[in-house]
Symmetry: C2
C-alpha cells in the first residue's frame, strides 16, 4: 500500500516554514507499514492544487493533504476537494457548535469568516480535531481515499491520535497486503548515531524481515527495530529475541522506549521515586526548569530554583563563595558544585542540579572554549556528581544539550528501579 502526502501553502513554497508535517506523517505511516512514495508541496493556487490532487490520486492508494483549511480566502482545500468529488460544500454542525462556544467564551459571535473553518464537502467522513477548530475530512476521489488535514502540527497530531491512525490501519488491512509488524523505538541521549550504528553492526543479520533504522532527533537519537512477517507470532518472537540482543549491546544508554522524550520519562520516574528536585541555572537561563515542568503534575517533584545569570546572583541566591568564583570562574567544577549544594540546601529538595557554561558565540577561552559546560547533581549520601560537557556547536545547541545533560544526570542519580524505562 502506497501513500502520498500533499502539503499546501505559499509559506511552504516560499520557504518561510519547514515542512515538518510531511515528515511526521510519513514516519507515522511507516509505522503502520504504509510506505510514502511521493511528498509534494504546492502553492495556495487552485490550478496547482487540482493538478497535484489528480497526480496523487492517479498513483497512490491513499492521499493525505495538510494545509488550506483555515478561515482566510487563501484557504482553498475544501472548495477544490469538494469540486473534485462533485459535492457541494456543507457546514459541519459539530464544528460550528464548537466554534460558537469558543467565540462565546471570548465574548464574540460567529462571523462569516470564522464559519469558513467549519466547512466540509457534503457527505465527507469527518475526522474530529480535538486540538483546533477546523475539522479534518475524508472523501474518495476516483476510488482513492483523500484525507484533508489542517496545517497546524499539533492539530494533525491530535487528529491522528483521535482516530485517523485507526482509520489508516483499517484501510491498510482492507487493502489485503498486510504483513504483521513487531516494532519498538529505543530512545537514547548522549551518544552519536555513528556510535550506535557501530555498536549495533550486524545485529539483524540472518533475521528475515528484520531491520534497524536510526533517526537523529536533536539532541537525542532514536533507534527503531522492526520485524515484518506474515505471521504475527513469528514477528513478535523474532523481535523479542532481537530486543534482548540489542539491550545487551546498548541497553545502558537507553532511557526509554516509545513516544515520550526524556523530560516526560524523567518526570514520571521522579514522581514514582518520590524525589523532589531543584535547579540552579546559569547559561541555560531557565531551560532545565522549563523541561522539568513539561509533564502535567510536575509540582509533585519540582520545587523550583534559581536562575543565576549574573555572578552576584550566584552568591546572593545560592551562597556560592566569591573566592571560588575568583579562583575558578563561573564555568568550573567548583562553582557548579557550590551551586548544586546551595540550591538543594536552601530549597530543601532531595536533588539539586546546577549548570554553568559558555554558550557562545563569545566568551570562550583556550581552556574553556565555547561549548564548555559544567554540571553537578547534589543529593543525599555520597559526593556531588559532576560532568563536563564539550560541544563545538551553535549557542542554541549548546544550551539545549546542556539542559538535557542536566536531566540525564538527574536520571542517573535515581535508583535504577525508578529510572527504568517503561514499555
Amino acid at each position: 500500500m502506497f501513500a502520498e502526502l500533499l502539503t499546501i501553502g505559499d509559506e511552504l513554497t516560499r520557504g518561510e516554514i519547514v515542512d515538518t508535517n510531511s515528515a511526521w506523517l510519513a514516519a507515522q505511516l511507516w509505522d503502520l507499514d504504509v510506505a510514502v512514495r511521493w511528498k509534494t508541496s504546492c502553492r495556495d493556487d487552485e490550478d496547482d492544487m487540482r493538478a497535484a490532487l489528480a497526480a496523487a490520486t492517479a498513483r497512490a492508494d491513499l492521499v493525505i493533504t495538510s494545509g488550506g483549511l483555515g478561515p482566510t480566502e487563501d484557504d482553498l482545500t475544501c472548495e477544490i476537494v469538494a469540486s473534485a468529488a462533485g459535492a457541494p460544500i456543507a457546514i459541519d454542525e459539530a464544528a460550528r457548535q464548537k466554534l460558537e462556544l469558543f467565540l462565546a467564551s471570548r465574548g464574540r459571535t460567529v462571523s462569516e469568516v470564522n464559519l469558513r473553518q467549519a466547512r466540509v464537502p457534503a457527505g465527507a467522513r469527518v475526522h474530529a480535531n480535538p486540538a483546533g477548530l477546523a475539522p479534518a475530512f475524508e472523501v474518495a476521489l476516483g476510488g482513492v481515499p483523500v484525507v484533508c488535514l489542517p496545517g497546524v502540527p499539533r492539530e494533525i497530531y491530535a487528529i491522528w491520535e483521535a482516530g485517523l491512525r485507526a482509520r489508516v490501519d483499517e484501510l491498510r488491512r482492507s487493502s489485503g497486503a498486510a504483513p504483521r509488524i513487531a516494532r519498538r523505538v529505543y530512545r537514547i541521549f548522549g551518544r552519536a548515531e555513528s556510535q550506535l550504528s557501530e555498536a549495533l553492526r550486524g545485529l539483524v543479520d540472518g533475521y528475515p524481515g528484520a531491520s534497524l533504522h536510526y533517526q537523529v532527533k536533536f539532541p537525542e537519537v532514536l533507534v527503531k527495530l522492526v520485524v515484518r512477517d506474515p505471521d504475527a507470532a513469528a514477528a513478535t518472537a523474532r523481535h523479542d529475541e532481537l530486543d534482548a540482543q540489542l539491550r545487551a549491546r546498548v541497553g545502558r544508554w537507553i532511557y526509554g522506549t516509545g513516544d515520550d522524550p526524556l523530560p516526560l520519562v524523567l518526570g514520571r520516574a521522579l514522581l514514582d521515586a518520590g524525589v523532589r528536585v531543584a535547579v540552579a541555572e546559569s547559561c541555560t537561563g531557565g531551560m532545565v526548569g522549563a523541561l522539568l515542568t513539561e509533564l502535567a503534575g510536575s509540582s509533585g517533584y519540582f520545587v523550583g530554583g534559581a536562575i543565576v545569570y549574573a555572578n552576584e546572583e550566584k552568591v546572593r541566591q545560592l551562597g556560592v563563595s566569591p573566592a571560588t568564583l575568583d579562583a575558578h570562574g563561573a564555568v568550573s567544577e567548583e562553582t557548579v558544585v557550590e551551586m548544586a549544594k546551595g540550591v538543594r540546601a536552601r530549597t530543601g529538595a532531595d536533588l539539586g542540579v546546577a549548570v554553568s557554561g559558555v554558550a557562545g558565540p563569545g566568551g570562550g577561552s583556550a581552556d574553556k572554549p565555547v561549548g564548555t559546560v559544567w554540571l553537578a547533581v547534589d543529593g543525599p549520601g555520597a559526593a556531588t556528581r559532576t560532568f563536563r560537557m564539550q560541544w563545538p556547536g551553535a549557542r542554541d545547541q549548546v544550551r539545549t544539550l546542556a539542559a538535557w545533560w542536566a536531566l540525564e544526570l538527574l536520571r542517573q542519580a535515581l535508583p535504577p528501579s525508578a529510572s527504568e524505562e517503561r514499555p
Copy 2:
C-alpha cells in the same frame, strides 16, 4: 520564472529526517524573485526519480535537486540525469584531485567507491563544492537547466554562496520576465490571524501587483506585504504608501519587522535602553528566563531570577505573603504583583516580571479555569502593571503564550524609542 525543487532519499519519504533543504532553497530563490511552484520528495528509486525529473522539467524554468550524489549504490542522481541528457558519465578532474588530497591527508588512496563521488554527466557545468567532496553539476534537459546538489545542508549553503546564487540570478535575468519586488514582514504577537485579516481587509485593493500574506508561527503571526512591478522605483513607492496605511491600522500591535522573533527584538531593545531584568516564574518553570537568554550577550540585560513552582518558594525566595496566597491563591493578581516586586527588590533589577497560572490539564476551577495566567511587571515609577491571560488550549501552548506575554509586557514597559521596531 518558476523553479521546482526535487529532494531525493528514502530517509525523506520514511520521515526519518525533515526536509530543511527545500525550505532553505525556496527562501533563497524567493529572494531572487524566482518563485518555487512545486517541491517534490521521492525515494532512491530509479523509476520514481526519472518520473519526477520528467514532470519537473515539463513544467518549470529551472529545476534544482538535492540528494543522491554520495558514494553508495543508493546514490543514483548522476546516472539518471546523465542518461536523461544522453551523456556518458565522466570523472570531474578537479573533484578527483580534491578527493585524492583529502584521502592522502588520512594516509589513504582513492578507491572505486570513493571515486563515485567525483562523477558528473560528461559536458555538465560543474558547480564547486567548497564544503564537501561531491561536486554539484548542471545539465539542460529539454532546454530546462537542472542543477543537482548533494544532500548535506552545509554543502548546499556553500555551493549557493560560491557561485550558484549568481548563476540563478543570471538565468533569471536572461529569462526576461524579471519584475522588481518590494517586501516587508511585520511580526505581531497577541492578536489572531483572523483579527489581523479583518483589520487589514481591502488594504491592497486598487494597488496593482500588491498582495498581503499571513503566516501563523505560533505563538505569533507574520504579515507579509509584497509589491511587484517591472519598475523598482514604482514598486518601492507603492510599498511605502501601503506600509504607512498598514501601520495606521495595526501598527500598535507590530513588535518588529524582519527575521527576528520577539525574544531577540526585546533583548536588543533592553540592551539599547540599558534596562536590566529579573524574572519570577511559576507555571512557566523557567521559560521566560530561557527566552530572555536566547540572544548572545544577554548578560547585558538579564540578571536572573527565581523559579517558584512550590508556594513555599514564592514566600522564601520572593517574600510573597502567606496571607496573600491564602486569601487569593497562587494564581491571582495580588500574588503576581508581590512576586514581581519581590524579584525586583531582591535582585536590584530595573524591571521584574512575574508569571503564575494554571497550565493544566488539571488544577482548573470555575473562576480560574485551565489557561488562566496572571502576569505582572514592576518597575521604577508608576504602579505595577498586571495582565490576565486566558487561553483554552493545551498545557504547552498555555505555557508558551504565558512566557511570550511576559516578554510582551516587558516590551510595553520600555520607553517607546527603545522598544521601537528595527527596519
